[in-house]
C-alpha cells in the first residue's frame, strides 16, 4: 500500500513540474530567445502559439488530476499502463513546442538575407571541453553494464519480460544521443543573430543534458528490470513518476541557461530598431 501513496505523492509533483512549471519556464525562454535572435517574428503570432501551448498543458494537468482522483478513489493502486500513457501525453506538448520553435527559427532564417559579416568564437568546442571525461565514462559504462545485465536476463528467462527489447530501446536512444551530440558540437549556425556565446552555451548545456539523461535512463531501466524480477512491479509507476520529474528538471536547466544568455545578448546588442 505504501507504494501506492508514494506514487500518488510523486504523481502530484509530476503534474506540477511537467504541466504547470515547465510551460512557464518554456514560455519565458521562447520570449527571450525570439526577442534576441529573430525579433521580426510577429509578437501576436508568438503569443497565440504560446497561449495554445499553455492551454494544452493546462488541459493535460486537469486530466492528470482527474486521473489521480479516479485512481485514488476507485482502485487505490496505480495502473502502470495508464501512468505510462499519461506521461507520454504529458511529454507530447513539450516535443511539439520545440518542434514549433524550430519551424519558426527555420522560417526566420530563410527570411533573413545571409550576413556579410560572420562571427565565431576562438574557443574550442570539443566534447571534453564541455563535459568531464568521468561523465562520458559513466554513460558508456552504464550502457555496457546494462547490456550485460539484459543479456544475463535473456539467458535466464522470466515470464513476460524481454531483456533484448529493453536493450534495443536503449541502444536506439544512445545512438540517437550520439548523433545529437555530434550535431550540437559541429552544427551550422541557425540564425544570423545567434551570438558565439549563445552557441557555446547551447552546445554546453544540451550536451551535458544528453549525457545526464542517458545515465538517468540507464538507472531507471535497470531499476525497472529489477522491480520486475523481484516481483515488485507495483513500485514501477512511482519509479516512472520520479524519473519523469528528474528528467524534466534536468532538461529545464537548459531553458534557464539559454534564457539568461539570450537576455544578456539582447542587452549587449541594444534596442532593435
Amino acid at each position: 500500500m505504501i507504494e501506492a501513496y508514494a506514487f500518488f505523492a510523486a504523481f502530484v509533483v509530476q503534474i506540477l513540474v511537467v504541466s504547470v512549471l515547465h510551460p512557464v519556464w518554456f514560455t519565458r525562454f521562447v520570449r527571450a530567445k525570439t526577442e534576441a535572435q529573430f525579433p521580426d517574428w510577429d509578437s501576436k503570432s508568438r503569443e497565440r502559439y504560446l497561449s495554445l501551448y499553455r492551454v494544452a498543458n493546462a488541459g493535460i494537468a486537469v486530466l492528470g488530476l482527474v486521473l489521480l482522483g479516479w485512481m485514488f478513489s476507485h482502485t487505490q493502486s496505480p495502473d502502470w499502463n495508464i501512468v505510462c500513457f499519461y506521461t507520454l501525453a504529458q511529454m507530447s506538448p513539450i516535443f511539439l513546442g520545440f518542434l514549433m520553435l524550430t519551424r519558426n527559427e527555420t522560417k526566420a532564417r530563410l527570411r533573413s538575407p545571409p550576413p556579410t559579416k560572420r562571427t565565431a568564437s576562438l574557443q574550442r568546442r570539443g566534447l571534453f571541453d564541455i563535459i568531464s571525461p568521468v561523465t562520458v565514462f559513466l554513460a558508456v559504462a552504464g550502457y555496457v553494464l546494462f547490456a550485460a545485465f539484459m543479456i544475463h536476463i535473456q539467458q535466464h528467462p522470466v515470464a513476460g519480460f524481454s531483456g533484448y527489447y529493453l536493450l534495443r530501446v536503449i541502444t536506439l536512444i544512445f545512438a540517437m544521443n550520439a548523433i545529437c551530440v555530434y550535431w550540437l558540437l559541429y552544427r551550422r549556425k541557425k540564425l544570423p543573430l545567434e551570438t558565439p556565446a549563445y552557441r557555446m552555451q547551447a552546445a554546453e548545456v544540451q550536451v551535458r543534458n544528453i549525457f545526464y539523461a542517458g545515465i538517468a535512463l540507464v538507472v531507471f531501466l535497470s531499476l525497472f528490470a529489477e522491480l520486475k524480477l523481484l516481483h515488485l512491479a507495483s513500485w514501477i509507476p512511482f519509479a516512472l513518476s520520479v524519473f519523469t520529474v528528474i528528467a524534466v528538471l534536468v532538461g529545464s536547466t537548459m531553458l534557464f541557461a539559454l534564457r539568461r544568455q539570450a537576455e544578456a545578448d539582447r542587452l549587449d546588442a541594444g534596442p532593435v530598431s
Binding site: R118, T119, R125, Y186
Partner: protein, 130 residues
C-alpha cells in the same frame, strides 16, 4: 575571443582568418598552449568551406604560430608571439628583389628572368617528385 569574417572584404577569407588569429596572439588574447577550435567547428561557425579554414591553419602552422598535436587538436605554438612578427611574404619579396637586381646588373632581361624563374620552380618540383 571572437573572430569576424567580412565576405564583402576583397582580402581573401583565409588571410582575414590568419590576420585575426595573429592579432589575437600578438595582443595576448591567445596565449602559448591555448587550444584553438577544430577546422570543422570554425568552418561551420563562420559558414565557410572547411578547405578555407584548413588553408589558414596550414599557413599558420608553417609560420609556427600554431601547432597540430594529432587527434588532440590545434594549439597556439610556444613561440607564437615572436613568430607572428616574421613576415615570410615580405622576406621572400626582399630575397627575390636582391636576386633580380643582381641578374639585371649582369644584363639579363626581365622576360628571361621570368622564364628562368618559372623553369626553376618546375625543375625543383620534378626534383622533389623524383
Amino acid at each position: 575571443m571572437d573572430i569576424t569574417i567580412d565576405i564583402d572584404n576583397p582580402v581573401p577569407q583565409f588571410e582575414q582568418l590568419i590576420e585575426q588569429i595573429k592579432a589575437a596572439v600578438t595582443s595576448g588574447v591567445l596565449k602559448a598552449g591555448d587550444a584553438l577550435p577544430s577546422i570543422r567547428q570554425l568552418a561551420n561557425d563562420l559558414e565557410l568551406n572547411s578547405k578555407t579554414v584548413a588553408k589558414a591553419y596550414k599557413l599558420l602552422e608553417r609560420d609556427a604560430v600554431i601547432e597540430t598535436k594529432g587527434y588532440r587538436g590545434t594549439y597556439v605554438h610556444p613561440k607564437a608571439k615572436a613568430n607572428c612578427k616574421i613576415n615570410l611574404q615580405e622576406w621572400t619579396l626582399r630575397k627575390l628583389g636582391e636576386t633580380v637586381a643582381e641578374l639585371r646588373e649582369a644584363g639579363v632581361t626581365d622576360s628571361e628572368i621570368r622564364n628562368a624563374f618559372a623553369g626553376a620552380i618546375v625543375r625543383r618540383q620534378s626534383e622533389v617528385l623524383s
